[in-house]
Symmetry: C2
Amino acid sequence: MTVTWLDLPDDTLFGVHNLPYGVFTTADDGRRRIGVAIGDQVLDAAAAARATGLDARLTELLAAPGLNPLLAAGRTAWTSVRAALTDWLTDPGHRAAVAPCLLPRAGVVLHLPFEVGDYVDFYASEHHAANLGRLFRPGSEPLTPNWKHQPIGYHGRSGSVVVSGTPVVRPNGQRKAPADAVPDLGPSRRLDIEAEVGFVVGAPAPLGTPVPLADFADHVFGVCLLNDWSARDIQAWEYVPLGPFLGKSFATSVSAWVVPLDALAHARTAPPARDTEPLPYLDDRGDAEPWGLDLSLEVRINGTLVSRPPFAAMYWTAAQQLAHMTVNGAGLRAGDLFASGTVSGPERGTEGALIELTWNGERPVKLADGSVRSFLEDGDEVVITATAPGPDGTRIGFGELAGRVLPAPPVPGAPVSRG
Amino acid sequence: MTVTWLDLPDDTLFGVHNLPYGVFTTADDGRRRIGVAIGDQVLDAAAAARATGLDARLTELLAAPGLNPLLAAGRTAWTSVRAALTDWLTDPGHRAAVAPCLLPRAGVVLHLPFEVGDYVDFYASEHHAANLGRLFRPGSEPLTPNWKHQPIGYHGRSGSVVVSGTPVVRPNGQRKAPADAVPDLGPSRRLDIEAEVGFVVGAPAPLGTPVPLADFADHVFGVCLLNDWSARDIQAWEYVPLGPFLGKSFATSVSAWVVPLDALAHARTAPPARDTEPLPYLDDRGDAEPWGLDLSLEVRINGTLVSRPPFAAMYWTAAQQLAHMTVNGAGLRAGDLFASGTVSGPERGTEGALIELTWNGERPVKLADGSVRSFLEDGDEVVITATAPGPDGTRIGFGELAGRVLPAPPVPGAPVSRG
């Protein structure tokens, strides 16, 4: 086991095997800087690079105000930087230079760690897709005929991606229950979450370059948590025939820390058995190590644990999603973000969205204060966390993905109240 | 009528009332520069700004390698820059300074004029939506129940937006005819176009700021032509339930010139009568000048005129689309692009997509060389053009939006042929 000169508890989720990247400022220094989480501290990466004499090109990547240059630099650079970080934090000879570059995590402000290119949201949990099918299209087959042949996804709004801690304002939108003759405009009454895992693209691929399964790790830098906030009433009324739009585009939250793919080597696991023959470009059955990942998620509302979604249960892996997304020649840019889709397991209490967890409000969840929720109320705080197996019995953490619901603003176009 | 000191034919589509913006390089100077089209020349805007002593802030906007800083600067800056351009090109006193900044348009290479933020594609022609409904969902109502209550749209892939002239490679993708038991992977057999009009967002709006109809011109900088290339077989198999994805994400072409909204003052026209009461935030009936635009499009395949789509027939205006897109609090960034959806009129020969024009291949179009097309063949070149009324009987042009179809690459995952 790699030992650090820092005094870390054995059960830290931010040990030397994790080393996730974020972007921070401090109260007395507003410059955005790349930081690496270690224990309950954050390492000012560029400061450490300078203090230790890291080579100029890698230092420049770490001195950027966001992760995009490092993302674009590709796997060789990622490996070199990670090796340097590990060296700095484990070799006591670096202690004198590196220790002054550590700040208490509690004292920094974390920002969106990268500029998002395209944001794609998939739909890769069979349990989630079947549950939503039953709820949105009662009387039809739960899964559409295409679902087991390809990872179904859609493009979301990258400009609405916000970092953990950003409040989420309840959206106004068109609402129309089946019994209503016409829609009205007002605050969503069915505000929901989707607990997901996000994949951050690093090395670009030009238009016309499909990325095969085997090249996944050359293009994907790391992993974050993602909450695809969803207004179910707006979504239900708008989504036929072109898919979700305003029901999702008001906010998508991501965790402040991006866990490098390299930190998840011990989390790799076989995906669940598939019952449909995949086309060759999606066929991972011959792969020595397909990209199933054993991440254990937890969802809390106002502190009450309401769900434990198991990422290992996802039908499609991120490698399959990337291969599918590019099979038509679509290119990749550093900062592209694609998400797994809601992580829902097969058992009750493992669903990643309230609409499933409460079965459309029929079985509300009970919170510690005795109140119940079918959907989110103003003031509710949702926190998603996750851990993964690391080496030697350690665990890798993703930090908190938190968001609090604020009330909707006045309805646009409505007469201003003079009350 | 404003007169220029340039020697322009009366029927030029790039007169002094147009002044569209683009980004160019020349064979002997690879720096990307902002250019303004005038007649068959292009004005190096930053060079002219320096030569005439334009104020430093506006000069800096024009000296950028792309339009984004100018877009972000907002309407006051746009008005000032346009006034300066008009002054330079009409006041003979500027001739000596400005004439050396003109280059022949034929000698420059045009580039994607702005960095695209989010790309949204709407679906605003009633004729197109009804045609597609009949073709994709036979036996159902042609229009979905939501269609006349809101401008239906979805997010597309901004990383796949390319400038006019960029070849379009036929995409590979999953194809499955209703009679097939399972899909296969291969080149799209039903490659189509969608002739559209794109709107380029300038001034940003933070998250949580709906943009009402009245503020449209404060946020939208200008207008371009857009071809939403579509692989109908891939789209048909994938699009339920989350909408179009790989059937569209391989390429979206835009014209190289962005026509400022100010150049279209004479093109404003009343939208067609609507038969459904709009919600207040979409209600433009009380507006003195709603944002219908009388643009006349033409679509050519290998030189043969195959369609004349009339933009004035669009049910939803761009102002309504922007109001809808932001009503839920979604923000805007400089460079966001939203498109009208396929422009299709009510008559035969005015449809903006081959699937409608040929009625799913039942009535192929005949080209000048005697060949017929149901969908596009490799080597076909599609050119979309448009004009709009300017002042005093003049016409405003948008330039050509051109793209040639290249053959699909080898199918990913297929055995390499050793023949």
